[in-house]
């Protein structure tokens, strides 16, 4: 009897190991989640309304800053500070899209569609699934960023000379930044698994705080000294600086925030912080997931 039990349990374990996705399984989890995310994001309406919905929101946020700036400076859009504000705000769209996109999947699946428990019994890799769910928001975010920048270039004298853009630096920085945001999103997803009351606000609160401290729309020197240091430990600060330097180098030189650091030094800091967040996200998510399983929170519906 004991030997039979032992045989059964070893069979169960090997079956579990076989059903655990590896390699191609990771890719499949990611690909299917990306497709699912796109369907959820886009199929609630017709393509025209979806396009308007996707672009109006980011353009409005940019327009608030443009109007504020225009009133005070009498429309002096040639100044480097305008380019600094405008580009920082445009690329910050990715923060909300990728970071909140990854963590939002937990809320959507658990509270709204009530399918998170089915995801957990399916042969998929949950972190890869969550990354995949963020892809749709990344795509919509990318188009919004592009439209915002094109709008600025055409109508607001945003000085981006395509011939002088450091494209290699731009794409490398963009890629690392998006990865970093996805890892931060995974940390948020882990926290979201454990809490009931504030899951709706969590992504917004974190994105809002980072918006304030990362110097996205004003140089860090404007912040009071007591809180300025926060900006220097946030990877988004370095990411936005690299993107600005890649697109319009002289604008970044006009502000003292990171002027003493070369592009390579900033890139190294960004890579280091991204690695740190990657490792942290794996541990935080595993720990949160373990607790969520223990406390029976995977299929929780709070009705908040």
């Amino acid at each position: 009897m004991a030997i039979q039990d032992l045989k059964m349990s070893s069979t169960d374990v090997s079956a579990q190991i076989e059903s655990r996705p590896t390699g191609r399984g990771f890719l499949r989890s990611f690909r299917m989640a990306a497709w699912l995310g796109w369907q959820i994001e886009s199929n609630w309406t017709d393509p025209f309304l979806f396009a308007i919905y996707s672009f109006v929101k980011p353009l409005s946020t940019a327009a608030i800053l443009v109007v504020m700036y225009g009133i005070i400076t009498q429309g002096n859009f040639q100044s480097p500070i305008f380019t600094y504000i405008y580009l920082g705000n445009a690329f910050y769209i990715y923060v909300g899209a990728v970071m909140a996109g990854v963590s939002w999947a937990v809320i959507d699946d658990r509270e709204h569609y009530k399918t998170l428990k089915y995801m957990y019994i399916a042969p998929i890799h949950i972190p890869m699934y969550l990354f995949g769910r963020g892809v749709a928001k990344f795509l919509v975010g990318s188009i919004s960023v592009l439209i915002t920048i094109v709008f600025g270039t055409l109508f607001l004298h945003l000085k981006i000379d395509l011939a002088t853009v450091n494209w290699l630096l731009f794409f490398v920085a963009l890629f690392i930044g998006v990865l970093m945001l996805a890892f931060m999103g995974l940390i948020l997803a882990g926290v979201t698994l454990l809490i009931a009351h504030h899951v709706w606000f969590l992504g917004e609160a974190v994105a809002g705080a980072l918006y304030l401290f990362s110097g996205a729309i004003f140089p860090l020197e404007v912040l009071p000294l007591a809180i300025r240091w926060i900006g220097y430990v946030i990877p988004i600060t370095y990411w936005l600086e690299l993107l600005r330097r890649a697109l319009v180098g002289e604008v970044a030189d006009a502000f003292p925030t990171l002027v003493n650091l070369s592009n390579n030094q900033i890139l190294a800091i960004l890579v280091g912080l991204t690695l740190f967040f990657a490792i942290l996200s794996v541990f935080v998510f595993r720990w949160a997931e373990h607790l969520a399983r223990e406390r029976g929170l995977i299929d929780m519906v709070t009705n908040y």
């Binding site: 609630w44 309406t45 919905y53 109006v56 929101k57 409005s60 946020t61 327009a63 608030i64 800053l65 109007v67 504020m68 700036y69 225009g70 009133i71 005070i72 400076t73 500070i81 504000i85 709204h112 569609y113 009351h197 504030h198 606000f201 917004e204 609160a205 809002g208 705080a209 918006y211 304030l212 729309i217 004003f218 140089p219 404007v222 912040l223 009705n303």
Partner: protein
Amino acid sequence: MNDSAAVLSPERLKKATGFLLFLKTVIARAYPRVIGAQREKSWMFFDVFLPMLAVSAYVFVYRAINAPEEYIGFVVVGGAMTAFWLNVLWSMSSQLYWEKEQGNLALYIMAPNSMMAILLGMALGGMLMTALRAAAILILGSLLFNVQYQVVSFWQLFIVFILTMVALYGMGMMSASLFLLLSREAWHLANLAQEPIYLVSGFYFPIKSFSFWVAAAASIIPLTLGLDAMRQLVFPSGPTLGFLTVTIELLILVILSLVFLIGARYMLVHLEKLAIREGRLTESRR
């Protein structure tokens, strides 16, 4: 056994009817908004914390471009008023959609009370609850950024605020009926109506910065004129940056209040019938 029969006996039940029933419904629907929300202390933190982040970011933008100090005050007052817009958007307009999703809407309609009373209760409760949050943002923002006020007339300020609230929540009641017909798109549409309204209503800058016709079109949102009038009454340079005179803005707010409240009554009756006919009251298309 006899006791419970006596309790349930029709002779012992005092049923509220007419205006009393209307009033009781208003209070009953307002109660969870005011009392329930205060019990969830942590919500208060998020409701104040999130707008404060936006307010702080915009204040630092103005500081970065060396704006006059009064603009900092404009942002703080506008930031406080965002609490009301968010409340109208998410807890008035979308509320009947949420109730439908959770299965409560059918219960509201089955119960022998007026739907208008339910909407009014939602509005009054939401207004009181949000006033606390807005006050917290205003006080905190004013202290943090050292905003100086110079009130011209407290009475006018009070009347402007009350009329803005009546018109705004009247608009919320009217749009709640429209949302009754929506499904999954309700969430997206409410989400869409945040930043564009912050832009056109001049939450963070004087609405006069737009051309006359853009500002006039934006005045359909009661907060546009309400904010403009309030800024004129509390900041020394307010009148020079005002869109219209306070008296004209007050008059328009009175008209908007009447239009939205009467409109809400008719829209609710019409759209409730439509929703019943098309079987949309209990549908849940996720």
